[in-house]
């Protein structure tokens, strides 16, 4: 058996080297058979001994998987394969991407589809199968059309890690589209935040009107329905929210298998929070149930993104395994899942020079993610052979390359406060367009709390040291203690440029009850949001040399020419003028004394009329005068 396996692996290596020489030229053909045939044909002259079975085993299966959130439809899960009676559907997947910096990015996605249409009148859902009841009830009670909530601990380092699959700002972010039948949107919103606060064990109840905005353009519905009236949209962030296990546990409970089976067994909180970045999110939206879109379904997409730092956890040894990272291995798929897969991004590693992946898989898949064509090794957990003889899947990754230099992502934004002192300041937002020749517009959204009083007349937008006039500005001024500032701008970014947006502000003096318990920590200003259609890397690639047939490369494909991306800047921590709370007693005593003594005496001096007063004569004199008056003699003076 050992010999046989040796032979197999030898065959595999040989085939692999063949692929390295020839196979890379393979086009993106979906059909497995043709590729297989080609491969075996190219093998034939070199590897005579290879029997048909080994070819079958080692054949590279190409499949098209689109990881883009909007247009996702696995060919494997086409309706014909789906069990007919149960219309609800659950899929799970884990994408592992070794990052440029040598870190590991693990992204879980769980998708639950639910065949209920609330929007039709009179229909009330009472039966829940895979969809969590707690969320279903929330959807129906508050007439929610779309709900997006994310909890993030840490900041995504674009310069080192590239782009995430789904971006999210540090802290908590919640945006909800309500149905246009809702009359009291603010009331619904308030109740909804309180309910969600309970469901996710988070401080979402601190969302109130002072930190809620209605973006006019930045947040469009992602699901069905073309709503443009942004009065039904509410958006709020809590940059201070700290995410920990108490938020993870209720999130895991929403999964059909909980954390008992499937990919969710990997989610051990002590490991997930021992990372450089942690983000968990829930997205609910209506989607089409089938291709004709005759009926709608609810899609619940739960995502969990973690970046593990190989440097600190490995004690210098850059070796990573599923067991080391999650302290678990995979043994089975969730029985309720119609698809359960692990993807490993091997794009930068065609010949294994960057890292070594074991166990090797024959299944490869290509997808265009964020404008870049990526290749993934696929491990299908629904197939028994994935787990091998040990009945468990423990992916092992040995890092060989160095951690690279910093990246230059096409779109990148950062923000900081400039100036010193506690009176005024300036918010700088810097947006980089690193595309060498293409300009593209971005939509910048800034929501600033009322206690930073923006001087909107000082707003400047400069690119390449020239003024850049935004083509669209939506500004809603703040009302003290009621509403934050909202600033939305559409800015054209010139190619290969840095655009700087500055606006000055004055720090307000709060009432003494409005300070947080730790006022000297500072006050947070949420991330600004940059939404953009970014020209894709695939379209940018003018170097069509190797793997592109000529007929496919002249005009770039429409849907690949640009992709939607959202970038969040870092939140700001701003110090406000803070009284010394440690000595209220002294202050009260001092002010009372000063007021009493100072005011009293000054008032006295100012209002009193002074008269020259005859000093009253002494007692003896008065007595003498009395006697003199009786006697009729002139009085003494």
């Amino acid at each position: 058996m050992a010999a046989h396996r040796c032979g197999l692996s030898l065959a595999f290596i040989l085939i692999f080297s063949c692929i390295a020489h020839l196979g890379i030229a393979d086009t993106l053909e979906k059909a497995n058979d043709t590729t297989g045939e080609k491969l075996s044909a190219s093998d034939a002259p070199r590897e005579v001994n290879t029997d048909a079975e080994s070819v079958d085993l080692n054949e590279r299966q190409w499949q098209k998987t689109d990881v883009e959130p909007d247009t996702r439809d696995d060919p494997e899960n086409s309706p014909s394969f789906r069990p007919a009676p149960a219309k609800d559907q659950f899929e799970e997947e884990l994408v592992i991407r070794p990052l440029h910096s040598g870190d590991i990015y693990a992204s879980f996605q769980f998708r639950t589809l639910w065949d209920v249409d609330f929007q039709q009148e009179g229909q009330k859902a009472s039966h829940y199968r895979l969809f969590p009841k707690s969320l279903g009830q929330v959807l129906s009670k508050f007439s929610v059309r779309e709900l997006h909530i994310s909890f993030t601990q840490g900041y995504w380092r674009t310069m080192q890690w590239g782009q995430p699959f789904i971006a999210s700002p540090p802290g908590a972010e919640l945006w909800v589209w309500f149905h246009n039948t809702v009359s009291d949107v603010d009331g619904n919103w308030r109740e909804l935040t309180n309910v969600l606060s309970g469901i996710f064990c988070a401080s979402l109840n601190f969302i109130d009107l002072t930190n809620t905005v209605q973006p006019s353009a930045s947040f469009k519905p992602l699901g069905l329905g073309n709503v443009t009236d942004h009065s039904f949209l509410r958006y709020a962030t809590l940059p201070r929210e700290i995410v920990c296990t108490e938020n993870l546990t209720p999130w895991k409970k929403l999964l059909p298998c909980g954390s008992k089976a499937g990919l969710a067994v990997l989610m051990k909180s002590e490991k997930l929070f021992h990372s450089s970045f942690h983000s968990q999110a829930v997205h609910i939206r209506p989607v089409c149930q089938d291709e004709q879109c005759t009926s709608k379904a609810w899609e619940l997409r739960q995502t969990l993104n973690v970046v593990f730092d190989l440097y600190t956890s490995g004690q210098g040894k850059k070796e990573w395994s599923m067991f080391k990272m999650f302290s678990r291995t995979l043994t089975e798929a969730c029985p309720l899942a119609s698809s359960s897969k692990v993807y490993v991004d091997v794009t930068d590693n065609p010949e294994g020079e960057l890292f070594e992946l074991s166990p090797a898989t024959s299944l490869l898949s290509q997808a265009v993610v964020l404008g870049d064509r990526r290749t993934y090794s696929v491990y299908d957990l629904t197939r028994a052979e994935t787990f091998g003889q040990l009945r468990s899947l423990n992916l092992l990754l040995r890092w060989k390359g160095d951690s690279g230099d910093m990246l230059r992502p096409l779109l990148h934004a950062e923000r900081y406060v400039s100036g010193f002192g506690l009176q005024t300041g300036e918010i700088h937002t810097v947006i980089y367009n690193n595309h060498p020749f293409r300009a593209f517009p971005v939509l910048l959204m800034d929501s600033v709390p009322w206690y930073l009083q923006l001087y909107i007349h000082t707003l400047t937008v400069t690119s390449k040291s020239r003024e850049n006039k935004p083509s669209y500005i939506h500004y809603q001024p703040a009302k003290d203690r009621h509403r934050p500032h909202l600033l939305e701008m559409l800015i054209q970014l010139p190619p290969h440029s840095m655009t700087e947006i500055t606006v000055q502000f004055e720090r307000a003096l709060l009432k003494w009850t409005e300070y947080t318990p730790d006022p000297n920590h500072g006050f947070y200003v949420g991330s600004s949001v940059v939404s953009a259609l970014v020209p894709s890397m695939v379209a940018m690639n003018t170097n069509f040399t190797l793997d592109q047939p000529l007929f496919s490369s002249f005009v770039p494909v429409k849907e690949e020419s640009s992709y939607f991306m959202r970038v969040y800047t870092e939140p700001l921590l701003v110090n406000l003028p803070t009284p010394d709370f440690s000595m209220p007693y002294n202050v009260i005593c001092l002010t009372c004394t000063v007021v009493a003594v100072g005011y009293g005496s000054f008032y006295n001096l100012l209002t009193r009329t002074f008269q020259v007063d005859e000093p009253s004569p002494p007692l003896a004199k008065r007595l003498a005068n009395l006697i003199r008056r009786i006697r009729g003699v002139p009085l003494l003076t």
Partner: protein, 615 residues
């Protein structure tokens, strides 16, 4: 307050104050000096204690052990520094990147208003290199800074080595809640100023610098390390910053706590702590330490790279390694551990350091004098000015009261009085403006006509204007309005006394030491000056107690306290360089001592000089 509204009792009080004015003033002055000297006496001071809870109870365990590797890195840095003849930017960037930091550089250039002869620089061009260690799961809102200056010659290499060693060690730890910035700045304070201005995107001193690419939110605290030998015997803590600003006392407490924990000898002002407070030597030692702090604070200079952070409300201190050939030596590992412990505790901070004192004097590292204890010493001096002003006010008012029926008549002589006051005030201040502006602007002309260097030209011009000012006011006064009246000088003196009181009071609130030193020298002569005194003697006394001579004495006292006494001629050389440094500090970092002296204190003193020559 019936005391004031009752005319009889008010009269009694004013009588008492005018009659006993001189004795009260003398007593106040002596009491102020005694009070101030008493501050160094240990039973009168408070023991330092950690106020910040986040740094107090949570003990940290120091595990840094790569001291040897740090010294090896220091050697390598030294070699590359020699090769590059300045900052080895490329090597440093690579070294930091290899330790897992995000590395950025900033280049800057600055043309000094005139050549700095102490440091031999005029056109300064340099590069700062800094690496940011990103804290896991932190949203880039808070940061700590550890900096080490890259100075020419073979100094401070070890500091850079330890910085790199710490960076490597910190990178492997998971407990960071704040990003940590490791900064190596070239041309000490100028580089630091460029970096800070770049980080906060301000430009207050006309520095040219390239914008910063990487930031890490608001900086909470900073430590600057200066270290020049592989083994050291003690660590010195430097706190005095620009314009006499001090970091929060908790930072000093933190340093002291870790020195105690690691049993490291620690000093402040280069002076060890003594335990025999009840002996004369013990007291003298504490008094010397405190006096040194007062002198350093009064100078308004930044005594280390940390001093520039304070403007941005960042608590910062410099730690300086001293090798003084004692028996007890520490290696780099101990210093690394000390820094590790301090940074970890700063990392634990939930709020900015704000719990402890910002205004204090330190007679030793374990004892401090808070603002409530030292302010009375200044208050007693300021009271003298107010008492004298009250006395004059009463004297000015008394003849007017005696001619009670002629209220309208009394106003007429007072209006020329006001005008006569205005002339010397304006002339004195114009002299002050000249003293502030001309030395730098006239340097080229001076260099052309006299065989001096630019720096000498600036300093000597300043001295010349200062001396010329002595001749100006009373001459012009005589020219403009002839002989001064008796009432004229009294009004002028009243104005000047109140002006000086306000000036010194404001100065002392911001920089106690400066205010106190100025008050000690200016108050006796200004309080007693009249035109009726013997001109030659009193003029000499006034000269000897003028601001310039105050600086001159401070130079000598400072040298004496540093145990490096100088002769008169050496002292004069130092005095000249102190003046040039003061002007440079103002131009380069925005130190306010030079403009304060030139624009306010000197004109105020000139007004008193004017009184002396009133007739």
């Amino acid at each position: 307050m019936g005391l004031l509204s009752d005319p009889n009792r008010r009269k009694a009080l004013t009588n008492l104050l005018t009659r006993l004015n001189t004795p009260i003033c003398v007593v106040c002055y002596l009491a102020a000096i005694v009070w101030f000297m008493g501050l160094a006496f240990e039973p009168f001071t408070l023991r330092t204690y950690m106020s910040e809870n986040a740094m107090g109870s949570t003990m940290v365990e120091e595990r840094f052990s790569a001291g040897e590797r740090a010294l090896a890195a220091a050697k390598e840095f030294d070699a590359h520094k020699r090769k590059a003849d300045g900052m080895p930017v490329e090597w440093l960037v690579k070294a930091m990147q290899a330790r897992g930091l995000e590395v950025f550089t900033q280049s800057f250039s600055r043309k000094l208003p005139f050549p700095d002869e102490n440091k031999e620089r005029y056109m300064v061009r340099g590069t700062n290199v800094y690496g940011i260690l990103r804290a896991p799961r932190a949203p880039r809102t808070e940061a700590l800074v550890i900096s080490a200056p890259c100075t020419p010659g073979s100094t401070n290499n070890q500091a850079v080595g330890i910085l790199l060693g710490l960076a490597q060690y910190f990178r492997n730890q998971v407990y960071w809640a704040k990003d940590i910035i490791f900064l190596v700045n070239e041309h000490d304070l100028i580089g630091m100023q460029a970096w800070l201005e770049g980080y906060h995107h301000t430009n207050i001193t006309g520095m040219e610098y390239s914008p910063l690419q990487g930031r890490a939110g608001s900086i909470q605290a900073a430590l600057s390390l200066e270290l020049s030998s592989d083994v050291i015997t003690s660590l010195d803590l430097v706190l005095e910053g620009l314009n006499g600003q001090l970091p929060n006392l908790d930072l000093a407490n933190l340093f002291y706590a870790f020195c105690q924990k690691l049993s490291v000898l620690c000093t402040i002002q280069g002076k060890l702590q003594r335990n025999d407070w009840d002996s004369a030597e013990g007291y003298t030692h504490a008094a010397q330490t405190m006096m040194l702090m007062v002198l350093k604070q009064a100078s308004g200079r930044s005594w280390g790279d940390h001093g520039l952070f304070l403007r941005y409300h960042i608590e910062a201190a410099s730690i300086r390694g001293i090798n003084s050939f004692r028996h007890y030596k520490m290696d780099a590992t101990t210093i690394g551990r000390l820094l590790e412990g301090m940074v970890r505790k700063l990392n634990n901070l939930l709020e900015r350091l704000h719990q402890s004192y910002f205004f204090y004097l330190l007679p030793s590292l374990s004892r401090f004098v808070s603002i409530g204890y030292y302010m009375p010493a200044f208050g007693l001096l300021a009271v003298i000015l107010l008492l004298r002003a009250l006395d004059l006010w009463v004297h000015l008012g008394a003849p007017a009261l005696s001619e009670a029926d002629g209220v309208s008549e009394a106003e007429q002589p007072s209006s020329p009085g006001v005008l006569s006051v205005l002339t010397p005030v304006v002339i004195s201040h114009l002299t002050g403006v000249a003293l502030y502006l001309l030395p730098v602007y006239l340097q080229e002309i001076a260099v052309e006509h006299f065989p001096v260097s630019e720096t000498e030209a600036v300093v000597l011009t300043a001295l010349a204007i200062y001396t010329a000012g002595l001749a100006l006011p009373h001459n012009t006064q005589r020219l403009l309005s002839g002989e001064g009246t008796e009432q004229g000088w009294k009004v002028l003196k009243l104005t000047s006394l109140l002006y000086l009181a306000v000036l010194l009071g404001c100065t002392a609130l911001i920089n106690f030491s400066l205010g106190f030193i100025l008050a000690v020298t200016l108050v006796p002569i200004t309080a007693s000056i009249t035109p009726h005194m013997l001109k030659s003697v009193s003029a000499l006394a006034m000269m000897l107690l003028s601001p310039a001579f105050t600086i001159f004495y401070c130079v000598f006292i400072y040298q004496e306290l540093m145990e490096a006494p100088v002769s008169l001629s050496e002292g004069f050389t130092i005095f000249l360089s102190v003046i040039s440094q003061g002007i440079l500090d103002h131009a380069l970092y925005g130190s306010l001592v030079y403009p304060l002296l030139a624009l306010f204190v000197y004109p105020c003193w000139l007004m008193f000089w004017n009184i002396l020559f009133w007739k």
